[in-house]
């Protein structure tokens, strides 16, 4: 083939440009330690990196959610444990005062005041706060849940926290359930639905159900009032300390249980004290039940937390595998390109220099 001068120059130019741009690219990889610096470097991988990053951020947030829920649940658990302790103490006292061998009118008067203390303590526990939030008020976290007579001002809804892409966990127990035994079964009270609405349709359904539920519950409450009538103290009903003849409720109102015990003790009503033993047992098991519910939620979020921690690492690994440059590869490529570049320069010199003119005198 006929070789024109321009061909040699073009060729040299092209080869040098090619080597130099290859070098620049590799240098960039070495400097950023990344194989992918823009989507076109590897479109498929860069889309996957994006997904992995999003997932990682989501998971990190879920871990935060879980930590928040866990402190709430742990505080609830601690409070319930204290509540169990004082109820057990109340039962001990009631047992000791339920017969004449260990109790008499005087000792019952003394015990009554200790029961009153226990009553106050349990009200206090019901009004516990974590930060600025009452833990037993349901979603009404800014209202004091119980007044001194044990009336409930919270609601019976759960606060659901997202712990994974598609799962929510309740981080609280409403006081109505723990302290008043509402909705534990058989009392006709309708509990809030367990599922969390995740779209607008189900949100609307949820809202309608809530309204309906509240109406039913109000009705149940009003029926309950007429059939039961007022209890020994005005404004407070003792619910399941005796089984409800209409609804057959099994829940226990802790406050009226304690209050009744106190009154029985004050009035030296031995059979009243004996009756209170049963309801105290029920009350203790009600709190224990609540505690186990809290406990199982803590366990659930803990295990979710573990798998999230692992997923965060996995996602980092995935992203890194996809986008990070292999340092050894880059360095060895740089060395290779460097020697190619030097060879090109050397041969270029040879290719361009000589011409017939150099040999003519």
């Amino acid at each position: 083939m006929r070789i024109a001068d321009k061909m040699s120059f073009n060729q040299v130019n092209q080869n040098l440009t090619k080597n130099r741009s290859e070098m620049a690219d590799l240098q960039n990889q070495a400097a950023t330690q990344k194989r992918i610096n823009k989507p076109s470097d590897d479109p498929l991988a860069s889309a996957r990196v994006l997904t992995a990053r999003t997932e990682e951020r989501g998971n990190t947030q879920f871990i935060k959610n879980i930590n928040n829920a866990r402190s709430f649940l742990e505080f609830s658990d601690q409070s319930l444990s204290e509540l169990t302790e004082i109820l057990v103490r109340a039962k001990e006292l009631a047992v000791s005062q339920s017969n004449d061998a260990s109790g008499n009118e005087e000792s019952r008067m003394v015990t009554a005041s200790e029961i009153e203390q226990i009553y106050n303590q349990s009200i206090q526990i019901g009004n516990r706060k974590l930060g600025e939030r009452y833990i037993f008020g349901g979603q009404k976290t800014q209202n004091t849940p119980f007044n001194q007579t044990g009336e409930y001002f919270g609601n019976d809804s759960d606060m659901k926290i997202q712990t994974q892409k598609d799962s929510f966990v309740a981080m609280n127990l409403p006081g109505s359930k723990v302290f008043l035994g509402r909705g534990l079964g058989g009392d006709g009270i309708v509990r809030a639905q367990y599922e969390t609405p995740t779209d607008v349709e189900s949100l609307k359904d949820f809202q309608n159900q809530e309204i309906e539920r509240q109406q039913i519950n109000e009705e149940v409450d009003s029926n309950f009032l007429t059939t039961r009538g007022p209890a020994s103290e005005s404004g407070r009903q003792s619910r399941a300390d005796r089984q409800d003849p209409v609804t057959g409720s099994v829940g226990v109102n802790l406050f009226s249980t304690l209050k009744n015990l106190e009154i029985s003790l004050k009035t030296n009503d031995k059979s009243g004290v004996q009756e209170a033993l049963d309801t105290l047992d029920q009350a203790i098991s009600q709190v224990v039940l609540a505690r186990s519910e809290v406990g199982s939620r803590i366990m659930a979020v803990n295990s979710t937390n573990d798998s999230l921690q692992k997923a965060v690492v996995d996602n980092k690994v995935t992203a890194s595998q996809l986008e990070d440059a292999d340092a050894f590869q880059v360095i060895s490529d740089i060395n290779k390109t460097d020697s190619t570049l030097k060879a090109t320069l050397e041969t270029s010199g040879k290719l361009i220099q000589p011409s017939l003119l150099d040999f003519l005198r």
């Binding site: 321009k6 823009k38 479109p43 600025e132 800014q142 997202q162 609405p197 607008v200």
Partner: protein, 469 residues
Amino acid sequence: MSKISAMMDTGKRSLMNSQTALQTVGHNIANKSTEGFSRQRVELQTNTPITEGNLQIGMGARAGVVTRVNNPWLEKQIQREGMSMGFQDSRADALGRVEQIYNEQNNKGLNQYMTDFFNSFRELSNNPESLASRTMVRESSVALTKDFGRVVGQLKAVQEDLDGQIKTTVEEVNQLSKEIASLNEKVQMVEVQGTPANDERDRRDLLLKKLGEKIDISWAEGRDGMVTVTAGRTAILVSGIGSSELKARQTDARDRVEVFFEGSSSTSANITEQITGGRIGGALDVRDKVIEDLLGHVDNMAYTLAKEVNTAHIEGFDKSGRNGVLFFDMPDQVKGAASVIGLNKTVFNDVGRIATGAQPGAAGDNTVANVISALQYRQVMDGGTSTLDDYYSTQVGQIGAVAQRAVKAQESQKNVISQLTNIRESISGVSLDEETTKMIEFQKTYDASARLIKTADEMFDTVLNLKRM
């Protein structure tokens, strides 16, 4: 005697031939680096011999024409490939800029702001009572809407830039058309005398190549040696010694620049649709297909997000038990949604208006906040088959793939061009060695011819001195 003077004559002509040849060598050397130059060659022919009796006596050589060594078919092929090169070049450049808008390898982008937005709602769900988490929602929402604006703004900036490129390129096209028309005239003027217009043809070939890099053209040479150049299907840019202009200007229908053919008779035809090659074609392709498509996607996302968040938010109740308001200012339509999406002023001014609960009067009610944060994993795009995240990362993957293909096409086109140019150079290019050799060759011929004249002179002398001898 006549033979001696014929000898003298042959020598003289040979001297002149050598000079011509050397001049051509000089021309070649001088134009060694001239773009588009084809090396030239003097065609030497033997002179008509004289017949004397039964002898035929050669009468030396005469210079025929100076021709250029050139393969017109190859030139045409280079011109065609150059058209494709221009297209790929401008496309790859523009796409490289477009993909940077979606590059989240080093900077924060729409994907991150979107995740931050949903995460802020999860944080709010953790603690709906807290003003701090409410403020976080506001900040992340503002940042998200701003980033929607950024993406749209940057995409439009690239479009505007392409508009500018199209405008300047159209000016260059007009300039080239004018020059080609004037070269048409020169070619014709020279060739009407029967001599090939080598340099003018080289120059015209080069201008045609340059024109083709800018806009897709077709051209043909008439019998008169003049070329007719058509851009697109209908815009006749050069015809004979006349040229027509293109105009790039905005229309009432769109805020983008379109290309018009301004024919001889004040008519103006929109030929934008016809242009599919050259730099203008590449710019139009990215501007009107790729970017418009992406703008549509971003609008789609912004609209869907606003709609879904709003319908949930309006069902909820705020911190003080009031009914929820619109969270985002609702865009009127999908088109343009990403540039108008913004946080509702009511919410912006009072984060207490963010509705988290499904029922009034429960400060800890986070049901609606959960519904909004769950939107991230709901399949609300593409007719309910993909999430907002999927939708976005698909776009990033796509733009990456398109940009990658464009760069590869550009590279392979570069290779095609450089190979063709190499072939062209091997035919038409100047080699110094070759020219030097020819120079020596013709110099020797010149020397020898001079010697011939001297010999003839001496022969004359001999004849003239016969008497004296």
